[in-house]
């Protein structure tokens, strides 16, 4: 790990001031925020992230740990720990996909450390990104190339990629946030703003080193999931090599507003298969108004993955993702208590 200056931000306002020089780059970001540390400390040890200054947000935590349910929906403070939200009875009842996406992520110890805000900003697990001995990595070193295109790429993305980067976004919580049309509240040196969560992460667009639309010094403060008829009938299905403590090979967050056997509206997020948290809008449109049958679910899944682009090692992913989505849809349809 390279030497760095450690500072503690007394509150979010101080954090923004201290972080205002952070810039948008990846390994060249001179200032990084520290929340749970489960991404930052890991990648600093690997010499992937090399900040000169680390601003500890821990003292700011008290302001934004709230978990609130109102008629408008669910508000989750960005500094709430994953474990706290996963275990919250109201979250489990009102937005099961959210609770399940958190419960199936990482390990109990990591969920005790990690904040929601940090979780959505986690980095790819691409082995060529994480190992600096692979010098071709456009995300770490813009313009250097992409090692994954011609090396083993079993768990790389098939959706939303371009020829500069095929890394996979590995998080779960973000997939549920996409499906449930969440908004994210951000505080920065230029003030507070709210954007659709779907507008937080970027596609590579030839510059995979820029991953989010966050500006210098900005801190995520809260997530808001709007009240909706589909929230209760939702789930998160994660398919992976191990039964637990493993990233997704393919995952689906689905939420259904049903009228008997017919789908009024569907909301679908996909994980384990995309460059960024993924919303399957065309698949949702396909299902709207139709009976929830295996055939209709399969057609929606076909549409969801129709633009998939594979690179050899991950040729299996589109089929796995389709089957995962079909299973998730049918399981959501069969939920009794919702």
């Amino acid at each position: 790990m390279r030497p760095f200056a450690y500072e503690r931000a007394a509150d979010v306002a101080s954090a923004m001031r201290l972080g205002a020089a952070s810039g948008q780059g990846q390994s060249d970001a001179r200032v990084q925020f520290l929340a749970g540390g489960t991404t930052l400390i890991d990648l600093m040890k690997l010499d992937v992230l090399r900040p000169e200054r680390v601003i500890d947000l821990a003292p700011s935590r008290g302001e934004h740990q709230n978990i609130e349910w109102t008629a408008d929906g669910l508000t989750l403070g960005a500094f709430a720990k994953m474990a706290a939200v996963e275990n919250h009875a109201t979250v489990r009842l009102e937005c099961p996909a959210i609770a399940q996406s958190l419960q199936q992520a990482a390990s109990a110890q990591l969920r005790n450390m990690a904040t929601l805000g940090g979780n959505v900003l986690q980095k790819t697990r691409c082995p060529y990104y994480r190992d600096v001995s692979w010098t071709a990595c456009n995300k770490r070193d813009p313009g250097s190339g992409c090692s994954a295109l011609t090396a083993p790429n079993r768990n790389h993305a098939v959706l939303g990629v371009d020829d500069t980067c095929i890394s996979q976004y590995p998080g779960d919580f973000a997939v549920a946030l996409m499906a449930l049309e969440a908004a994210v509240q951000i505080s920065g040196p230029l003030g507070a703003r709210q954007i659709a969560f779907a507008d937080l992460h970027k596609s590579p667009e030839g510059h995979p080193e820029i991953e989010t639309t966050l500006r210098s010094g900005e801190v995520i403060t809260a997530f808001k999931i709007p009240a909706a008829a589909w929230n209760r009938r939702s789930l998160y299905l994660k398919v992976r090599d191990r039964a637990s403590y493993e990233f997704a090979l393919a995952s689906a967050a689905v939420a259904l507003d049903m009228d008997g056997d017919r789908v009024r509206q569907a909301r679908i997020g996909l994980g384990g298969v995309a460059y960024r948290p993924w919303r399957a809008l065309p698949a949702e449109a396909q299902l709207a108004g139709k009976p929830l049958t295996a055939r209709n679910a399969e057609e929606a899944a076909r549409i969801a993955l129709q633009d998939a682009k594979t690179h050899g090692g991950n040729d299996f992913k589109p089929e796995l993702a389709r089957r995962t989505l079909v299973r998730a849809l049918l399981q959501a349809g069969a939920l009794q208590h919702a």
Partner: protein, 194 residues
């Protein structure tokens, strides 16, 4: 007279034999003499408050093992992927290898060394691991025990399946898992009785 541990015996023996110490250890000893890039860090470990002069980059795990000579917490992967370094910070089970010591300043850190009572009576979880033979080589065991205590306190030890799921952050290369589950169940019953 320094404490007699495996580490002091081997180190002294190597010095006597004129064998060069591992350069990493040598650098760590040099670094421990307060160079720039360090600060005073107040750590509360097993109830004992102390001040250490630490490189800012020092993790809680390295502070425990290298500076406080509390080697019960193990460095299995140093990447947060194995759970062998599990300790409690402010009563929550967390990974010491991904926590900066300076970020844990003034927080209560509990390690495996602090579990037994002053008279030597083992914590119910430690006793259960012995009673159920919940270990083979023992390397993952301190982390398993600390994690298991957290699992019970969190209310996630209600069934075999739940124990397996909520203990999934602790890997055991010897595959002692079935006996670990038995140990957690046994301890839970004893801990509930107080």
């Amino acid at each position: 007279m320094p404490t007699v541990t495996r580490r002091t015996v081997i180190t002294a023996g190597a010095a006597l034999a004129g064998v060069a110490l591992d350069p990493v250890i040598a650098r760590q000893r040099e670094a421990a003499k307060a160079p720039p890039g360090t600060s005073t860090v107040r750590l509360n470990v097993n109830g004992k408050k102390q001040q250490l002069q630490l490189d800012t980059r020092t993790t809680v795990l390295d502070a425990l093992r290298e500076h406080l000579h509390l080697t019960g917490s193990k460095k299995g992967c140093d990447q947060g992927q194995c759970g062998a370094c599990t300790v409690h910070i402010d009563g929550e089970r967390v990974l010491a290898c991904l926590t900066l010591a300076v970020a844990a300043q003034d927080l209560r850190i509990d390690t495996i060394e602090g579990l037994a009572a002053a008279d030597g009576t083992l914590h119910p979880m430690q006793q259960a691991f012995i009673d159920e033979d919940g270990f083979q080589c023992g390397y993952c065991t301190p982390g398993q025990i600390m994690s298991a205590i957290g699992c019970v306190h969190e209310g996630h030890a209600n069934s075999d399946a739940e124990i397996r799921e909520y203990m999934s952050g602790n890997l055991c290369r010897c595959a002692a898992y079935p006996k670990i589950v038995d140990a957690v169940k046994l301890a839970r019953g004893r801990m509930e009785k107080g």
